[in-house]
Chain length 150, copies 2
DNA sequence: CCTTGACCTTAACATATGTTGAGGTTGTAT
DNA sequence: ATACAACCTCAACATATGTTAAGGTCAAGG
């Protein structure tokens, strides 16, 4: 192991310290989510700050954000040094905004659902949930037999 | 087209009226999300209520819920008739609960994030975000196709 | 020097969610 | 009766997110 050189990590160090598999580190590098350099012997080396980056990636993934989006969000974050307050603020803002959007759409969906059941429109045919913005399936509508709402 | 027989739909009718591709109807049937029967000539036929089922499937997908879970949630919903008020109430309750869980997780994450930046703990090393106990968006490996981009 | 563990690359597999295409059958309108 | 649309099955492809395996290289200790 490449112990003691605290600022330069081999792929195995990164894996151990970030909690992801070596194959995942390879994968993230291939996808451009993290960056490093090679030794003369072609082995991967990373700056210590890659650990933070991976931590952020995992957190964002837990929020259900796809890697492609995470990559964009991280684009402004430095690969090779500890982020400044400004770096960090930018990132947090972008990410909070994303989370807010996701929260909003789930909330909206839930509320529409309950209002839908509340109003007794159990057919879904005219439900705002059904086709959030388009018209679809608006043809030979037969008699709409509504069950007596509870 | 199998017009006029309003309660019995061929796969193309289902596709047109539900807004999904024929191949998707096939797929959903293979996955056991919907059910139907065959004509003597081996063609698929569906009860009208399959349209509602598909509508529900798409709505749930927009909320980021994987098909396997949707299938469970729909297990109690009838394949062959219009859901009763009780069927519907059960489904709505289950689904609202799921949405609430997801909303809570995201909200928690967002708030931790902002509090984290607020407190200046920029290291993430001791951050509650880093190793939370729950496993939020654990949606497993595999394509996380976003149904609702944007 | 030689062994051994950590590393390298490339390819294939696994899962979820479908879509596309090839090749053949059914059903209906003229 | 014949054409043509709609249907069928099965297999392969596509995407996201990795893991596993095969076969070869590098570096450090004994």
């Amino acid at each position: 192991m490449s112990s003691s050189a605290l600022h330069v990590l081999a792929v195995g160090d990164v894996a151990r310290r970030s909690g992801v598999a070596v194959s995942t580190v390879h994968f993230y590098e291939r996808q451009g989510l993290i960056e490093g350099w090679r030794t003369s012997g072609n082995q991967r080396r990373y700056h210590r700050s890659v650990l933070r980056r991976i931590a952020l990636i995992r957190i964002a993934q837990r929020a259900g954000i796809p890697l492609a989006i995470i990559k964009e969000t991280l684009a402004e974050m430095p690969h090779d040094h500890i982020p400044t307050a400004a770096d960090w603020r930018n990132f947090t803002n972008a990410w909070t905004e994303m989370l807010n959007e996701r929260i909003d759409s789930l909330t909206q969906l839930r509320d529409q659902m309950t209002s839908c059941i509340g109003c007794g429109c159990m057919s879904l045919e005219d439900c705002p949930l059904r086709n959030p913005m388009d018209e679809l399936g608006q043809r030979g509508a037969g008699p709409q037999r509504l069950i007596n709402p509870a």
